[in-house]
Amino acid sequence: MKIPSPVMWARLKSPWVVHFNSGACNGCDIEVVALLTPKYDVERFGVKLEPSPRHADVLLATGCVTEQCAERLKRIYDQMPEPKFVVAIGTCACSGGVFAGNMNVVGGIDKVIPVNAYIPGCPARPEAVLDGVVKLLNALKGPPKTPAPKKADEKLVEVKSASVTAAETKPLEAKSNA
């Protein structure tokens, strides 16, 4: 689906983000909040933290996804208007991290909803989150005009898919643990 350009321009200029903690240790969450404060000041890129998922473009999801939160996470994703993007922040959000295989843990945001960008780190540094969001926005513009980033950069922030159509939501599966 091709988005009309003025809308795209507005979206890239000022993406509104909603933050959801799906069972994180607060480490990533305080780093997401630190993004809003003077040292990192993410608002200079037009990024605004929005309390309601219904007004948000990007979902910043942290945590290893507990069973209780999985349904909530899916519900918040469903409430967001199209097109919508998901950024998984922190190692737990990417893969379950240190909690992978625990009881009550689904393990990873992408087990519940499709994810567009993964930002690893325990916790992810504010610079890395900033970099991830900016890379996601650049990816939305289309193929990059600059040469592809070097290997080391890819490791830091991997923009998996920049598809603007929401991929089909994976069903919640019964947990298979190690």
């Binding site: 799906s22 945590g63 507990t66 918040i76 625990n102 009550n104 916790p123 947990k175 298979s176």
Partner: protein, 528 residues
């Protein structure tokens, strides 16, 4: 009040006589083994002997044919454990909530995780596990394998009609959470209001329950250090220190004195960043966003200090059983001192603000007042207790690491309202700066880590530290292998949550955020 643990034991032995076996110096100051039923007498005797007595934690332990129930209680200078056993097939015991109201959540947790029925409990509902959890599966019993747990497919919670703003008679029910701008963490509170006045608060915690206690049993002691410090990203060093202390107690390892001082520095840096985080966040909750932005700006140098000392901004990963993993370099000491000196100046500005700013005082003074009696009854800990004129601080009462050698003041405020709880933290920032400066000035030379065996002999121990939010408690049981038998974590917010349910009632709904945030709630700690 008693001066030493020994007097207390004599009194207890006289009162309980043949019914109790008292073992001094085990599981805290003493362990009192009783038959089920007598545990109430033992707790009553302790209550009469010490006015500051409170429940620290109730641990369940799977002992094969029996389920052990351990009531860890706090006396003026340490922990006394009352232990009893109930048969596994008929796990029933009389509740102690009528004696000590603070035991309420602890009993519900043991009921959830071990299937022990507490007879006479006022509200025996599910606390930490999901509503979809299968019946009669109690996860911390040994026979339960994580891979075999099959959750119920349907979630009654999601399918139930939305209860937010539903009306039941005169009361209106307002649901806050699990996703709410005021809560950084997913938890749910059902607040019943009559007009503007709150009449009842019903919490539903457990949204962040990650099964850490169960997982710790299947990982080695080395892995567990990194697991437990990820229970909470904010007070991570406190969790790691407390776990390491518990292991060291069983191993009888003496940590080198340099490591003790480095641990103190790390713990106090944790406290500095946590208190500043909260005092800024409080500004956000009461509609004073400038304060939030300023406070967090000045908190950044503390994060840089953490990075300088540990290599990471938030999760330190520096603690190890037997010491610390990283030394403090000589050339870093002046940098740390300079940062702290700047911080001290800046905190002066915020203290004046909290003391004099009219709008801040109007939003926090006489809001959520907790009397000293209630604070003792509900067994609250940390700044919440100290704001209500209860002088408990593990660093003073039962010194660990190098705290016995470092001079500092215990901050106590008497008014018991939200403002007092904020001011306790404000003054503790000064004390923390002093402690770090003293520790840097008196840093002993020598090794910072000793080698410890990977296999821990069978034994049991308890450890507690003063985390930023209050007393953090660990109970550890080892079985002679490289894996622990049981790790019990009781976090400060779990103890403090009960006070919010008490103080919110009768106040206006607009005061709920200020009151709530003054507890410094941390639910990743609470749920584990």
């Amino acid at each position: 009040m008693l001066s030493s643990g020994k007097d207390l034991l004599t009194i207890l032995q006289e009162k309980l006589g043949e019914k109790a076996q008292i073992q001094a110096g085990f599981l805290g100051k003493a362990s009192i083994t009783v038959k089920p039923g007598v545990h109430r007498d033992a707790l009553k005797a302790l209550l009469e002997a010490d006015e500051k007595l409170g429940i620290v934690a109730i641990s369940g332990v799977d002992l094969g044919p029996q389920i052990g129930i351990l009531y860890h209680t706090r006396i003026s200078n340490g922990i006394v454990t009352v232990r009893t056993e109930v048969p596994r097939d008929d796990a029933k015991i009389t509740s102690v909530t009528d004696l000590i109201p603070g035991a309420n959540f602890h009993e519900r947790e043991v009921a959830d995780l071990f299937g022990v029925v507490f007879e006479g409990h006022p509200n025996p509902k599910r606390l930490v596990l999901t509503e979809r959890w299968p019946d009669n599966v109690f996860p911390l019993r040994k026979e339960v394998k994580v891979s075999e747990i099959k959750l119920k497919p349907e979630s009654s919670e999601i399918n139930a009609p939305e209860e937010s703003a539903s009306t039941s008679g005169e009361l209106v029910n307002i649901t806050i959470g699990p996703q709410h701008p005021a809560l950084l963490e997913p938890e749910k509170f059902s607040v019943k209001v009559e007009g503007e006045i709150v009449r009842d608060v019903e919490p539903r915690i457990g949204y962040v329950h990650r099964g850490v206690e169960k997982a710790a049993e299947s990982r080695t002691y080395l892995q567990d250090v990194y697991l437990v410090e990820r229970i909470c990203g904010i007070c991570n060093s406190c969790h790691a220190t407390c776990f390491c202390e518990a292991v060291e107690n069983i191993l009888h390892t003496e940590v080198p004195s340099r490591a003790k001082y480095i641990r103190v520095i790390l713990l106090e840096i944790n406290r500095l960043h946590s208190h500043m985080l909260l005092l800024g966040h409080a500004g956000l909750e009461i509609g004073y966003e400038t304060l939030f932005q300023y406070m967090w700006r000045d908190r950044e140098p503390i994060m840089d200090l953490t990075e300088l000392l540990t290599g990471n901004r938030v999760v330190a990963s520096t603690l190890a059983v037997g010491g610390v993993r990283r030394d403090i370099r000589e050339e870093d000491v002046p940098k740390i001192k300079a940062t702290l000196a700047t911080l001290r100046e800046k905190i002066g500005f915020y203290k004046k603000l909290y003391e004099n700013d009219t709008s801040l005082k109007m939003r926090t003074q006489k809001v959520g007042t907790l009397s000293r009696e209630d604070a003792l009854k509900l067994c609250v800990v940390g700044p919440v207790a100290r704001g209500s004129n209860v002088n408990i601080d593990v660093r003073k009462d039962d010194p660990y690491e190098a705290y016995g050698e470092i001079p500092f003041k215990e901050i106590v405020y008497t008014s018991g309202d939200s403002w007092a709880r904020f001011m306790v933290r404000m003054d503790e920032i000064y004390e923390s700066i002093d402690i770090i400066e003293y520790a840097l000035g008196h840093l002993p030379s020598g090794p910072f880590r000793v080698k410890v065996p990977r296999i821990v002999p069978a034994g049991e121990s308890v450890a507690h530290v003063e985390a930023p939010r209050g007393e953090l408690f660990y109970y550890l049981k080892s079985n002679g292998t490289a894996f622990p038998e049981r790790v019990k974590v009781r976090t400060p917010t779990f103890a403090n949550l009960g006070s919010f349910l008490k103080t919110a009632i009768g106040q206006t709904i607009a005061d709920v955020p200020a009151n709530f945030v003054s507890l410094d709630p941390c639910f990743s700690c609470t749920d584990r």
